[in-house]
């Protein structure tokens, strides 16, 4: 696959970030606020909880992981929404650019912003609140990878929804992580959830990551098969989201929605 058209999408995002501090600031600001807030909460909890239990790797680590996933998802959708806001679809899709190249460009664009956000959180959490990533051992890398893949999948899916239902449906994008969070077992084990919520939780790759994170921090065993399941689910969701985006684009070309997208909302 020629890379130059994907590179063009990445270059556009780079120009947007380079020329606009208001786009750069949120990459750092929200995650920094979250880490500071939860850092103080964990510090306080450590003072009132029974000695020996450290909330930092459990709570602050969970916040860091969840924020990373959220940043990845929003990174993809933000890159897509830039084209919605600037009414750029006709210029893009009347060019030789394929959907695979376009989505690939969105994903690559979000890698840079997600890594910047992650670095900000890591620096703050380790220096200000003493979070040690050695607590997670070698599993840190696959944990982050699973969250990254699931963030990509949800970002592509949310972008497809906006393409399908028009610019007015943008509001759907932002609360998706919040909607998933009760099911994702970020701060509590899946077993805490009511029975009807647990099957939903097991369909979400982050649940396996957070269960694993808690198991490792508490010195328990973590099954490699659980990690494989979460990676499989994340990869499956990327395939499904890409299929859905392609299907929505095909529908938009067939019905004339894409040609009219510049002029109107279809919601």
């Amino acid at each position: 696959m020629p890379f130059h058209r994907t590179a063009a999408i990445v270059l556009r995002q780079y120009y947007l970030l380079r020329g606009s501090p208001v786009r750069v600031l949120p990459i750092f600001a929200w995650v920094a606020i979250d880490i500071v807030l939860w850092g103080f909460i964990t510090r306080y909890l450590n003072t009132i909880a029974s000695p020996g239990f450290d909330f930092v790797p459990v709570l602050l680590g969970a916040v860091l992981f969840w924020d990373f996933f959220t940043r990845v998802m929003h990174g993809v959708t933000m890159a897509f929404l830039e084209d919605v806001w600037s009414r750029n679809f006709l210029n893009l899709f009347a060019s030789p650019l394929s959907i695979r190249e376009y989505v690939g460009g969105l994903v690559l664009s979000c890698v840079a912003t997600s890594v910047l956000g992650l670095l900000t959180m890591v620096v703050l959490a380790t220096t200000a609140f003493g979070l040690s990533f050695f607590a997670y051992g070698v599993m840190l890398v696959p944990f982050l990878l699973v969250l990254f893949l699931f963030g990509i999948a949800l970002g592509i899916f949310a972008s497809a929804l906006v393409l399908r239902f028009g610019p007015a449906s943008e509001w759907i994008v932002w609360p998706v992580p919040a909607f998933l969070s009760p099911f994702a077992a970020i701060f509590y084990p899946v077993a805490t959830l009511p029975r009807w919520m647990q099957p939903v939780s097991y369909l979400l790759p982050p649940s396996y990551v957070f269960e694993g994170m808690r198991a490792i921090v508490s010195g328990g065993a973590y099954r490699g098969s659980a990690l494989l399941v979460s990676a499989f689910l994340a990869a499956l969701y990327i395939l499904l989201a890409s299929w859905y985006f392609t299907r929505v684009h095909r529908h938009a070309v067939r019905t004339g929605l894409l040609a009219r997208y510049n002029a109107e909302s279809t919601a």
Partner: protein, 248 residues
Amino acid sequence: MIPKVLSVDRLRRLYGDTVAVDGVSFEVGQGEIVGLLGPNGAGKTTTINMILGVLEATSGTIRIEGADIATSRSRALERTNFAAVYAPLPGNLTVYQNLRVFGLMYRVENIPARIDALLDQFDLKGLRHVKCGVLSSGEQTRVGLAKAMINRPRLLLLDEPTASLDPSAARDIRTQVREFVSRDKVGALWTTHNMYEVADVCDRVLFLSRGRILLDGDPGSLPREHGKESLEELFIAVAREPLTLKRT
């Protein structure tokens, strides 16, 4: 015989029961500017959208230098480009940045040199680092035309390219497009409601009415052939009394 850049064959587009384009067939040859004329809603933009691959035809075929838009989309669109007032370049990038992005998109060799040449050609040098969103409509049109020519397309689609330009700027643009088409043996499809422009720039015109090609011919002789004084009169007749005109 002039080699064909664009071949449209029995193109049809339905929206539910409404026929927007009804069995349209035409060709555009190398070095030829074809005017696509007709009243609002005649099917001009729908036809252009299908040629650009952003709207699927209900039936019929479109070939750009032999590449079928339905089956070889990327190959067909690599040698095509367009400018339209309703598709401005993103306002949050500068003129240079937009041209650089689309230069990369169309795999242009030596992009900086090509951009310099286009900025010079369209008198945009002073606006190189200005964001497109703050340009006047005339300047935006010129940037859009620079983007449309960045890949030296074999087929150029221009949907009312001079609609927001003053007469002097419009004449300059017509001259530049004419030179580009003639020098690079490009085929161009040009829609406009300005009949003076049609007479000035088009080698051939297609009059569309209710999705069908009603007339096809030389803009210089077509009015007389249909008992009209001018292209404008002919246009009005097509818009108001299409049934009184013979279909080609």
